[in-house]
């Protein structure tokens, strides 16, 4: 059941301001409360990343038989997921920069994935979080090749998008990594090859090292176990790709999320910005471990309202955000993982066809 069936009430300017002020107050209250527990949490997560990585790699390198292979690969995949989502994504948002710990500095953190930290800070922190779901401005709406809303113009190429989406799921880190290169613009002749090369150089360098790490150095260190280590790394990367794809697609594309025309952000007030973040995002329900494994992107709504608050705060903020939304007659799109995922699949299939 998606409680989002009820359409959003249109707010007056005064109501919009009041709505924004309530969310501002929630943010200020949380900021004032940040402290040891938040740092302890992220350090625990970093510890988990390191220990699961070592455990996973050790089982792959020194283990024999399918059981240690499966456990090792799972541990390595979990480590990569946690590093990318709960640690990397959140630290790079500046959620922990207030600690003054150089290891938690959002402007300097480099995550363990093909996408460069700087590309991400630009395409995600700035473009996506500022222009969320605005057609023509937020390049995350369908990532330049998927039609996820009827508001996007249909092209015959969209007929193949169910296959395209499945491929993107498998290769997600490469999609993310190439996102800020604006490849689609070069294909359409809107960006020169030279500009593409300039944008692409840091990505190419990082990608090469990432490939070397998992597919050359790690297998080489395993000597006779090299094929096993290579396979384990491959499966772990695939699992991480599919998982992050699933979580992220559930964040903005299930039924009940809206996209916006460019005109909607002209003279946008702070309250309007909050409303757009809310209406463009969707949550996934689940337990504590599930939320952590999604980097708390299962609380996509809270994340888009408060991208610089430590993500582990979102579960406690969620009921209060939901209550504010209810008072202002605003929808709050949430559902179980299977439901949201099904909804995304339906959107992709439906929008492959014209109309």
């Amino acid at each position: 059941m998606n409680p989002l069936a009820a359409p959003a009430r249109t707010l007056t300017a005064a109501e919009t301001d009041a709505f924004g002020a309530e969310l501002d107050a929630l943010r200020a209250e949380t900021l004032a409360d940040l402290g040891q527990a938040d740092v302890d949490h992220i350090r625990r997560m970093i510890k988990l990343v390191r220990y699961t990585e070592v455990a996973g790699r050790a089982l792959l390198h020194f283990g024999i038989g399918p059981l240690t292979f499966a456990v090792g690969t799972t541990a390595l995949a979990a480590s990569k997921i946690l590093e990318n989502m709960e640690v990397g994504h959140n630290v790079m948002h500046g959620q922990y920069t207030w600690t003054g710990d150089p290891a938690l500095d959002g402007a300097r953190y480099e995550w363990d994935i093909a996408c460069t930290g700087d590309d991400w800070r630009h395409s995600h922190n700035y473009e996506h979080h500022t222009f969320t779901n605005v057609l023509g401005k937020d390049r995350d709406v369908g990532y330049g090749f998927l039609r996820v809303s009827r508001a996007q113009r249909w092209r015959p190429a969209h007929l193949a998008q169910p296959v395209g989406a499945a491929l993107l799921a498998l290769l997600f880190q490469w999609g993310v990594g190439a996102h800020d290169l604006h490849l689609d613009e070069t294909l359409r002749g809107e960006q020169s090859l030279a500009e593409l090369r300039r944008r692409g150089a840091p990505f190419a360098k990082k990608a090469a090292w990432q490939l070397a790490k998992d597919y050359v150095v790690a297998p080489a260190l395993a000597l006779a176990n090299a094929p096993r280590v290579l396979a384990g790394n491959l499966f772990a990367n695939l699992a991480r790709n599919v998982w992050t794809f699933a979580v992220i697609f559930c964040g903005h594309f299930p039924a009940g999320t809206e996209v916006f025309p460019v005109t909607s952000i002209e003279n946008e007030r702070r309250g309007d910005w909050y409303l757009r973040q809310l209406r463009g995002s969707a949550n996934i329900e689940g337990g504590r471990a599930f939320h952590v494994m999604t980097g708390h992107l299962s609380h996509q709504i809270e994340h888009h309202l408060f991208p610089d608050l430590p993500a582990a705060r979102y579960p406690a903020l969620a009921p209060r955000v939901q209550a504010i939304c209810a008072r202002y007659g605003q929808p709050y799109c949430t559902g179980r993982f299977a439901h949201q995922l099904g909804s995304v699949a339906k959107q992709i299939a439906r929008n492959a066809l014209p109309g």
Binding site: D24, G35, V39, I46, T97, G100, H129
Partner: protein, 353 residues
Amino acid sequence: MLSRLSALPRTAWSRLFLDRQAAFWLAELSPTLAPGERRARVVEVIDETADTKTFVLAPGRRWPGHRAGQFVPVEVEIAGVRVRRCYSISSGASAPGAATIAITVRAVPGGRVSPWLHANLRRGSIVGLGDPAGEFVAAPSSGPLLLVGGGSGITPILAIVRDLAARDALGDVVVVHAARAADDAIGAAVLAALEASHLGLRVIAHRDAMEGTLDAAALLAHVPDLAIRTAYACGPAGLVALVAAAGPAALHVERFVAAPPPRLQDPAAPVSIRLSRSRRDITAAGRGSLLEQLERAGETPKHGCRLGVCQSCRCRKVSGIVEDAVTGARSDAPDEDIRLCVSIARSNLELAL
């Protein structure tokens, strides 16, 4: 090509995240092993007076050594936030990799760091240390000296006297040790012991409770040959001013309390902004965020969302007061990061732009 090849191990070290792995696992083994950070272990805590403690620190192999009279930035984590304060090293000079150094801290009532150090540091605690610095150092051949310390300001004086004693260079040294009362005088016993064993050292213990605050006449009565002495003074502003006015041959001063923050101004008042990286001075006027003011003045600082969301415009404020346009929170301490797009200038500023 060759230079790229020779850089390969270092590049690989960071590109394969081995730097981060090493930092993590070394810190897991022992906090003092964490690379890139100098961490010291507290080996002893000594009660000096009711509100002052000496912390003896083992600064580890990475300690660069220091000259007597210098201070060291000390970093601790309080409620998840790293904070730094400078403390004069109260022990004598140290060599690189020295076994121990000491700092002597008075708990400032209502202070953020010093009461925390008193309450939380015990044997085995870990603190971060910056690089020792400061020019409040006495060359052994400085001729006749006058060393004046008041309150907690006696700490660098103690260091200098200890150092001169260790070098057997206490030729003609007068120490004026001002304190509120006898039980408030940090290091009085140390000074008395050194005076007893060194003919060239004379210690004048001035206690406000008995004699009132030190004045010019009393100072000159204690040190009639003040004019020929090179003076070192550290303590309350009044005491330092007194020494300066008495006219020593030369004067070196150490200040514990930072210059007061600049005057708070109306958000609409024009402010001057020093851009320290590009070495430009501009005047920012008119309402709006610092980002808007900078742009109006012809600057093009890096920025993104203009909403306080994306952190692209985060930069270091070296000094001055700004206010967060959304939360109203003020940043008035030096060397804090601010986001230009949601900061309102409330005083003259220096930015690392």
